[in-house]
């Protein structure tokens, strides 16, 4: 019988609602409270929770350190990329209105905010997971008696 059975079952039950909530916060940020920073942190919490309960080896099989490193930079690239795209479309850097010109319903602003927040979320989530990896990856498994 595996140790911490209750902890494992509760974690597995909570995992998908937490990730779903992270996506809700991510994509609902321009209507309610929240945005990329909070969503990224909540998503990272789900992954870290999994790592804490099921062990670092298992979670590193899903999000390998290499992937985490790439995603850390990818978020900033997406954010800055939106800026360059608006410049390419004829606006100034990060002028989202240039994405959908001559639109009266601010579609450009909506797209711009969506992609920019996505960049923020990806970077924040990856950095948090990366920091957790580098802390948790340094020590040997701690025995139950020590706690």
């Amino acid at each position: 019988m595996t140790p911490h059975l209750v902890l494992r079952v509760v974690t597995k039950t909570l995992l998908s609602p937490i990730i779903l909530f992270a996506f809700y916060v991510q994509f609902h940020g321009d209507f309610g409270p929240g945005g990329g920073f909070q969503a990224g942190v909540i998503f990272a919490v789900a992954i870290i929770l999994y790592g804490l309960v099921f062990g670092l080896d298992l979670v590193m099989r899903i999000f390998t350190p290499r992937v985490v490193q790439i995603f850390m930079a990818l978020g900033v690239v997406i954010y800055a990329g939106v800026g360059y795209v608006t410049m390419y479309m004829g606006g100034v850097f990060l002028d989202y209105d240039a994405l959908v010109p001559h639109d009266t319903h601010h579609a450009g602003q909506h797209y711009g905010i969506l992609f920019v927040e996505m960049g923020v979320g990806i970077t924040v989530a990856a950095v948090m997971i990366g920091i957790f990896y580098s802390f948790a990856g340094r020590n040997i498994e701690i025995s139950d008696e020590d706690w």
Partner: protein, 196 residues
């Protein structure tokens, strides 16, 4: 006239929350068991989040709850695994100068609060110049209901790009200090150099 009508409810909640904040801060100072300190730190953040909700700053409260109570607690716990369980007892000799420094800084901060505008003052600098512009023009310029998101992602999009880069830089810093070896999988053995 009864007591509750003199003090309105939100002030009462503020006072209760702030007293709990003070209590948890004192508890952190007194406690020596590091696991408990981290946990009470999380409680402190959660209380701050409740306090921010009472001030109608839901975005700040949300961030405080997610970052302060959530991820910082978890990261501190995983950092705790690298160190001892209990804080070593302090020697009493050197504690007068820091106490003096804390006392002076605290008095200066309290003195500074007299210059701060009242809560919700419509004539305060935060509510008059550019803040008012954002609230008035967001509906016309950006068209998103949440003014905080409009300011953060659109009006101040350049600042937020900088903040994201700062988060990346922080992550890179930690990786370079602690974790460049972890690309080959987690370290499972005991490293001699770690036992400094």
């Amino acid at each position: 006239m009864n007591f509750l009508s003199v003090i309105d409810m939100s002030t009462l909640v503020d006072v209760i929350l702030l007293s709990f904040l003070l209590l948890s801060a004192l508890a952190i100072v007194v406690m020596r068991h590091l696991f408990s300190v981290v946990m009470v730190g999380g409680v402190y953040s959660l209380l701050s989040a409740a306090f921010f909700v009472n001030l109608d700053a839901v975005d700040v409260a949300f961030t405080e709850a997610a970052v302060g109570a959530g991820i910082s607690t978890v990261l501190l716990l995983s950092g705790l695994m690298l160190t001892v369980r209990r804080e070593k007892p302090m020697t009493r000799r050197h504690s007068y100068l820091p106490f003096l420094a804390v006392l002076v800084t605290g008095s200066a901060l309290m003195y500074a609060t007299y210059d701060m505008p009242d809560f919700g003052d419509p004539n305060s600098p935060a509510n008059t110049y550019v803040g008012m512009d954002y609230i008035e023009k967001t509906k016309h310029d950006i068209g998103v209901p949440n003014v905080v998101t409009a300011v953060l992602a659109s009006y101040r999009g350049f600042d937020t790009l900088g903040e994201t880069a700062v988060v990346l830089a922080a992550g890179l810093g930690v990786l370079m200090l602690l974790g460049m070896g972890f690309t080959n999988g987690p370290v499972t053995g005991k490293d001699e150099d770690d036992q400094i």
